[in-house]
Amino acid sequence: MVSINHYLVLATFMFLCGTLGVLFRRNLLLVLMSIELMLNSVNLVFVSGSRLLGNLDGQVMVFFIITVAACEAGVGLAMVIALFRRYGTVDTNFLRILRG
Amino acid sequence: MGLTDLVALLSSDAAIQIIASIVKILIIVVLCLQIPPVMVWAERRAPAMMQRRKGPNRVGIGKFRLYGLLQSAADAVKLIFKEEVVPTGANKVVYHIAPIFSVFTAFLVACAIPYGNDITVFGQQISLSPIRLDVGFLFILAMSSLAVYGVTLAGWASNNKYSLLGSLRASAQMISYEIPLGMSLIPLVIIFGTLDLNKMVIAQSAFPWSWGVVRAPISFFLFFICMFAETNRSPFDLAEGESELVAGFHTEYNSAKFAAFFLSEYVAMFVLSALAATVFFGGWQVPFVPYDLLLKIAFGLDWLAALVGFLFLLLKAGFFMWVYVWVRWTLPRFRYDQLMALGWKFMLPIGLFNLLITALVVAIFDTVTRH
């Protein structure tokens, strides 16, 4: 029997992959993709929780997360494009506007 | 394991279903594989007819020339045995993956169409659409939205600027028309209240005045335009405009890989034709012959009735395939800006408008009939 713990472990693994990607990849596009990965792991938790609890709120929440992810991807990538135009690179090593 | 065990296993309910679904899938796949040759032939003979010339009529087996039908077979054999040329600087992995993307999405969609009413075999009810899901409609949309990848990846991996431009154009066109396509089908979901295509066909009944095309004419109009745009067919074949882009995203593809794209393109055409027939023209329903009557005529054999329905579906889909060819040789090509403007500035608002109008009409109708 596949218990919810299985799904949780899988989701954790995906989340960690995503986090690692955000933290270690220098390409902004990859950073954004890693964020999608993290969002997906959360979706997985929601759906499995929805199944466990017999409650559809989790699935509706996933729907909203997908909506938000779409908006996030759109705006995020727009920013990547704007950055690329301005600085000619999407490598985070060269994008250090926040330097103190 | 003895023979009796094997028989028992094979005659268990689950096994029957699984075997049946494999059989169904194989039938559909084989059917789909026949489409490109026939269509290629049709696309050569039809313009010949229109332009008062002969077209290919030589290839045959011995004296049986079959109106040149075997030309296509010869073409297929030729394609497979040609040398494969991979351009330098191409991304090898992606270059090889791209056609696979195209092919399997096309087949997945083709398998989601109901080819007949449910039949009973060995006491098991078997649905005649190989893939039958609660979310049938959304499944078709989802899978066809994946078709973009084949095009995009192919163009990108070729390391050719014409390919890339062609693929970007093609995919931008495909996604642009996916919105009106999806939107044109929503009124039908409102009208029939289901996402299951087979239920939709049953709800349309055998009489043309209750078919989708009568109930939602604007939807059909939008869908009809989208059919051409989604498959990158004339008059929307900008993506492979020879004069500008050599041959579009598959410029650098040849031999069997080119055949794969070719195959998926024609399967996509067939799928959209069949979908149009299913959603707007009563699918496998035989016009004016309700299914019950059909069943009686077919000596009560449901598989026979289903076969007749299947043939009628093919007939209806075939008509749209013919329209594809017909339009290709009739209408000139659009400009790209015209294409995009048509999709975003005309079809999208019309689609929304159509949706609201349908909703209002249905709601008013419901309100009236309830009291």
Partner: protein, 116 residues
């Protein structure tokens, strides 16, 4: 039987078929590559320039596609529940569409859909 089993079968079959077609070329045809033959095809003319940076238009189209795609999905869900929700549902969706339409009008006015 799980209704998704056929999906899996078709998927494998499709991938297999695509793979066979891809692989067939590899084994069936002759292989005599040379430098000029495998250059990217530009109508026989020597290759000019780098691959260009693409127009941002394609990107704008894609982002609009995403957002309207989401909208379509909302609409499908609504269409499914239409009979149950009735006029209330129509009210909801009209508000929803009105807001989105405002965004759409902005897009058109801003000229993001112009291809020139």
């Amino acid at each position: 039987m799980n209704p998704y089993l056929p999906v899996l079968i078709v998927l494998l079959l499709g991938v297999g078929l695509g793979g066979i077609l891809s692989g067939l070329a590899h084994f069936a045809g002759p292989r005599k590559p040379n430098r000029i033959k495998s250059e990217p095809y530009e109508c026989g003319v020597p290759i000019v320039g780098e691959r260009d940076k693409m127009s941002v238009k394609f990107y704008l189209t894609a982002i609009l596609f995403i957002l309207f795609d989401i909208e379509t999905v909302f609409l499908y869900l609504w269409a499914m529940t239409f009979r149950e929700l009735g006029w209330f549902g129509i009210g909801e969706i009209v508000v929803f569409l009105a807001v989105l339409f405002a965004g759409y009008v902005y897009v058109v006015k801003r000229g993001a859909l112009e291809w020139d």
